[in-house]
């Protein structure tokens, strides 16, 4: 009984919270509102009544959005407010969206009006469903325009002036949803050319480049919402993240990348003090942690002891050395003895 009461109270609290936050959550509109296109259409008002000149509009020039003169004299002669109608009776980004389309799409109403025979809804077909979905989606274009060839060769510039500059994420295809930082690699594997239709060389290089500037994240300071593998306090936790996920760094970086930083920071190299605990290297298995750690994550060892630093290992693990055989049981290799890295420890021609 008491539990049921608590549940009811919790449900009530949740309902009140949602109602109180409805505006913030986007459940309730306040301030500006969507322009009632549908109501105008139902009343039989032609599109060109409010958008005069749209039938002759080319790829440049004004946007043909209605102003006071279009709304006022015959239909709304006594506006309730002195401000321009579209300041309130239009979504805040509707005009900006139209301006974006004008700037980034090769499109003219003039030629389309001929084909559509004056029927705007042939393209703006979502007007019947609601007022906020006026701009035709790309699929509507393909109802008439052949697109296969352009898609085949990944050329979007037949319609898009410059996708990279446009910077508008697609809403109906190639949507970068989910944990895209993790997912992008697997998707780019089979369609890297598709990625390249929007993203230039620099976009990939800003993370995967060996010579990336040392503080790329700080270049985007002021935008903490930008996804990044190396965001926030990555520098403090990168050692733990790398150890917890062996090989993760090598998925993108070469081992030299780690070693280069570690030497520069004094973590590795001749001048660095050993970061390893007591019992890291010893003659008995109990005091010899490094072997297990190396087998678990050889990339971590290479991040400091790679390249010339391998001589440290060879000192003990060369054939006949005190360190013994570092290979796991059953190890075999088809490499010749004089190949790298075999020759570091094995004498040529030996067993």
């Amino acid at each position: 009984m008491r539990r049921r009461t608590l549940l009811r109270l919790a449900a009530l609290a949740a309902a009140v919270a949602i109602a109180a936050c409805a505006g913030v959550l986007g459940l309730r509109r306040s301030g500006t509102r969507v322009f009632p296109h549908r109501a105008h259409v139902v009343r039989g008002i032609s599109c060109v009544t409010c958008h005069p000149g749209i039938s002759e509009a080319g790829d440049e020039g004004p946007l043909h959005l209605p102003d006071q003169a279009a709304c006022g004299p015959t239909c709304h002669p006594q506006p309730h407010d002195a401000r321009p109608c579209l300041d309130c009776h239009s979504e805040p980004f509707a005009s900006a969206g139209a301006a974006d389309a004008r700037a980034h799409l090769r499109f003219e109403h003039r030629s389309h009006m001929v084909v559509a025979a004056g029927n705007c809804m042939r393209c703006h077909n979502a007007v019947a469903e609601g007022d906020s979905r006026l701009r035709p989606q790309m699929a509507a274009c393909f109802g008439c325009h052949e697109h296969d060839r352009a898609r085949d060769v990944r050329r979007c510039d037949g319609c898009h002036v410059d996708l990279a500059e446009e910077g508008t994420p697609p809403s109906t295809h190639l949507v970068h949803e989910g944990d895209f930082v993790r997912e992008h690699g697997i998707k780019a594997a089979s369609s890297a050319d598709l990625c390249a239709t929007c993203h230039g060389e620099r976009f990939c290089a800003s993370c995967h480049g060996v010579t990336v500037a040392p503080v790329p994240r700080r270049r985007t300071l002021g935008d903490p919402l930008r996804p990044s593998v190396h965001r926030a306090g990555f520098r403090a936790r990168h050692s733990d993240e790398a150890h917890a996920d062996p090989g993760a760094c090598l998925s993108c970086h070469q081992p030299e990348r780690c070693a280069g930083c570690h030497v520069a920071e004094g973590v590795a190299g001749a001048a660095a003090a050993s970061p390893h605990p007591a019992g890291w290297v010893g003659l008995t298995p109990g005091e010899n942690q490094h072997g297990r750690a190396a087998r678990r994550d050889p990339a971590a060892c290479a991040s400091c002891h790679g390249g010339a630093g391998e001589a440290l290992c060879v000192g003990c693990h060369r054939e006949g050395g005190v360190g013994g055989n570092p290979h796991p049981p059953g190890w075999s290799s088809r490499l010749p003895r004089d190949a790298m890295p075999c020759r570091l420890c094995h004498a040529p021609g030996g067993p």
Partner: protein
Amino acid sequence: MIGRAALIVLAVSAAPAAAEPLRLRADALTGTPSPVGLLVLDGDADASEWLSAEGLVWIGAGAGIGDRADPGGGGEGDALVIALRARGLAGRAEARLGRIIVVTGALRPLHVDGTAARVRLPRRIDVELFAGIPVAPGVAARGWDWAVGGRVARRIGDWGGAGVALLERRDRGRLAVREVGLDGGLAIGRHDLAAKVALDAIDGGAPAPALAEASFATRRGALRGELYGVYRSSAHLVPATSLFSVLGDVASAHGGARASWRAAPRLDVSGDAGARVIDGAAAEQLSARATLRLDDRGRGAVIAELRRSGAGAGYDARAGAGQGTSAPGDGGWSGARIATRVPAAGAVTVSGELELVMPDQAGDRGAVWPWAMAAAAWSRGLWDVAVAIEASASPEERGRVDVLGRIGRRWEAP
């Protein structure tokens, strides 16, 4: 010198009455505690319908600028990208030349000074080829001498494709890496399926998997779900010429499920539950995230995120930092992060970010590693300016406060 070369490349390619403008961008960053500077030049141009170029170079100066800076306060600079791209045969052939990133099927991305080409053959078959010498950062030694490879792929309708790729890297004339990549992807209706496998094939025997990933995602209305798995063998990812490639094959496997839901027009929530298995020990990988957009366009937003990463038995986090004992332990950590961006008056945006990381085993590394940044950015026309204050405490530094500034400008030449 590098920057001058990039500008010359861009200028030359843009010279003949370009249809599209030459775009340049410069960002200058500076900060404390010591004099720090970073100048980034970024540009691209379409010289004609078949030729374009892009470049990005940076020059840094001062101690503390970053990970590879000269501790003595010297300067460094490098070119990230200087590339020419040419297209022909009505878009069916494409070639890139210069300092480029090569992303070829399941092979790991390569940063090379070289060339890459793609030809689209009949029957939806694509052939890619690339060759180059490795790009080496300023202080690092070059790990391998050159790389060559390619990929053959077949597109399947409008909804998928599959390919096989091969990469060979040489180190002083000797084979250091031979990797075979298999990749495939399908997008059927509301379902996405993708997989890739990179096989280490250097030893002449049966190729061993070095890296494998698979993902299946499906969506229904406002809900999206994904199942994923990653298999990685660290020993097969280091070059075969490295001594660390002969220690055996202790792979890690990571699998999990993720769900995201648009709970309200402006509210997205997501959760990820997975586990990682290494050397027979399992560790949890959990995260939850909520994103609330403060306006319909998402110019302002708040993100709250929780993460839990366990490292499982067998790893002593303190050992890596020099404070460990010989006892094996758990190197897991938990973290919380909140970030916000709010458009303020005029063209000003203010933002803030706070992250708290709590390691399972603190030792004397500190029980909590906080990181915070507060920033204000102003953007108008071709200019944008941002200032930020960053404060953190980490195992390396008990406390640190930096002030950062960036000024950027764009140029467009018709």
